[in-house]
């Protein structure tokens, strides 16, 4: 598939999309924090990737290469939105978008990739616990499972997720060959922890 992708095969791009669209979407939403911009960023990411496919090195993992394109594409859109406009473009004038933290995009990508690799029941229990904010007892009730089973599954799921995120502290592999737009400011990930989300 990667060989076909590199050769510019549109069907191979479809397979790449099926594999990575969710992660690219997470990055696009994280960076742009707006649905319509994320849609634009996602489309542009895959089209840029397809246009640059001949520059992709098949020996390297496609994910980080795609992530690089995704986050700089999203940043380009943000910069475009921040640019002063003329001619009564009210929507853009009203848009207030802060340049995002690049490492948050990396973390979003890694978490998406890790969750994708979990078993369904592991992912479900993490979702109920963190996103739905349910206690173990509530999860047991929801899933009609013994409390002990929920606790043990939860523990295993956390362990597995942590293993999959073992390298999250490492900087993403360089994808500079895909980056044609320059870099934005790079701040520490600590900012993300206190930022919270406003996306919906």
């Amino acid at each position: 598939m990667l060989v076909r992708f590199r050769a510019g095969d549109a069907d191979a791009l479809g397979e790449v999309y099926d594999r990575y669209s969710r992660s690219v979407w997470a990055v696009a939403m994280t960076v742009t924090r707006a649905d319509h911009l994320a849609q634009e960023a996602l489309q542009e990411t895959f089209i840029r990737a397809w246009n640059s496919a001949s520059a992709y090195d098949p020996e390297r993992d496609l994910g980080p290469w795609l992530l690089t394109i995704a986050r700089y594409t999203a940043l380009d859109l943000i910069r475009r939105e921040l640019r002063p406009t003329r001619g009564g473009h009210e929507a853009e004038q009203d848009a207030v978008v802060e340049a995002p933290d690049l490492d948050v995009a990396w973390l979003s990508w890694k978490v998406q990739e890790a969750l994708r690799q979990l078993a369904d029941h592991e992912r479900e229990i993490i979702r109920l616990s963190f996103f739905d904010d349910l206690t173990h007892a509530q999860i047991a009730q929801r899933l009609e499972l013994p409390l002990g089973t929920v606790k043990s599954r939860s523990h295993r799921a956390h362990r597995r997720l942590a293993e999959l995120l073992a390298h999250v502290r490492d900087p993403p592999q360089s994808g500079d060959d895909a980056n044609q737009t320059g870099t934005g400011g790079r701040t520490t990930i600590g900012k993300a922890g206190s930022e919270g989300r406003s996306d919906g």
Partner: protein, 300 residues
């Protein structure tokens, strides 16, 4: 291609233990978990992971399904254009040598040779070296051209008799081939497809906007899904918006859902960045009401 878990190195093992323990404490609502995290080696990262796991983006259903088709249709259209261009270049290269025998100046009169065969169709269409060739090097049996002798004319007339129809046939076949390939690969003007999304006023609405540049203007076809019919006394209006201003491109009511809505623009779409649909009131001024129900980003 996958990111298989690799926990090589003691530092990574420690981080895995740290993160797994933090997630456990968070899930159990263990008192003092934040304090424990703050005292760990990487408190910011632990907090960031939890923030990520609690984010709606992380668990959202992913991009709208229509985006996939939109991307692939754009890519395929671009690829088809490239193929046509490449094919034309190849055909042009093939055609150029075939015309050379007709346009190239005739070499000096060749002496008739018994060993030289009469011109064959294949010989006409094949590229001929501009100079030289076996026939030109064969010495003439008698010095001096005898152009008035009928024997001099016959072979030359014979060669032209074959060459002209064959060249004309080749040119006709080539022209027909180019036209056929052109029509086959580009039967319709290319459509740029964009995804339209509903706003807070019509959160269920979505759809595609196909833009085709035709000789009579830009055709903009909106295929909305989930857009409620405009109530009596109201209607929808579609607009293009860009640095040059806002241009109306048509109105509709969406009382027959599932029917593509064809709109027309007299302005160059490339100059406009946003497609929008507003809810209008009959009798009100024909300017955008501000009640935007759908938008699409054009020309990203």
């Amino acid at each position: 291609m996958s990111t298989a878990p690799q926990t090589d190195g003691g530092a990574d093992e420690q981080f895995v233990d740290l993160l797994a323990g933090h997630l456990d404490r968070h899930a159990r609502r263990t008192p003092g978990r934040k304090k424990a995290a703050a005292q760990s080696a990487d408190p910011a990262l632990l907090a960031a992971v939890v923030t990520e796991l609690r984010a709606e983006t992380t668990w959202a259903s992913g991009p709208p399904p229509a985006l996939r088709d939109s991307i692939l249709s754009r890519v395929r259209a671009h690829a088809a254009e490239q193929r046509v261009v490449e094919q034309r270049v190849v055909e042009q290269r093939v055609a150029e040598p075939a015309s050379e025998p007709l346009t190239a100046p005739e070499p000096a009169p060749e002496p008739l040779s018994a060993s030289e065969p009469l011109s064959a169709p294949g010989a006409v269409s094949a590229p001929v070296p501009p100079t030289g060739g076996p026939a030109t090097t064969v010495p003439a049996p008698e010095p001096g051209p005898r152009w008035w002798h009928p024997a001099q004319w016959r072979p030359r007339m014979g060669r032209l008799t074959w060459a002209l129809p064959a060249a004309a046939l080749g040119a006709a076949v080539f022209t027909a081939g180019v036209l056929a390939v052109d029509r086959m690969l580009d039967p319709q003007p290319r459509a740029d497809v964009y995804v339209a999304a509903g706003t807070d006023l019509a959160p269920e609405a979505r759809g595609t906007v196909s833009v085709v540049d035709t000789r009579s203007g830009a055709s903009v076809v909106l295929e909305p899904v989930g857009l409620p019919a405009a109530a009596p006394g109201s209607y929808y209006a579609a607009w293009l918006k860009g640095p040059r201003g806002t241009v109306p491109i048509g109105s509709f009511h969406e009382r027959r859902s599932g029917v593509p809505i064809e709109l027309w623009s007299g302005v160059d779409i490339a100059d406009y960045t946003t497609f929008s649909v507003t809810l209008q009131t009959e009798g009100a001024p024909p300017t955008p009401s501000g009640l935007v129900v759908m938008t699409a980003v054009l020309n990203p």
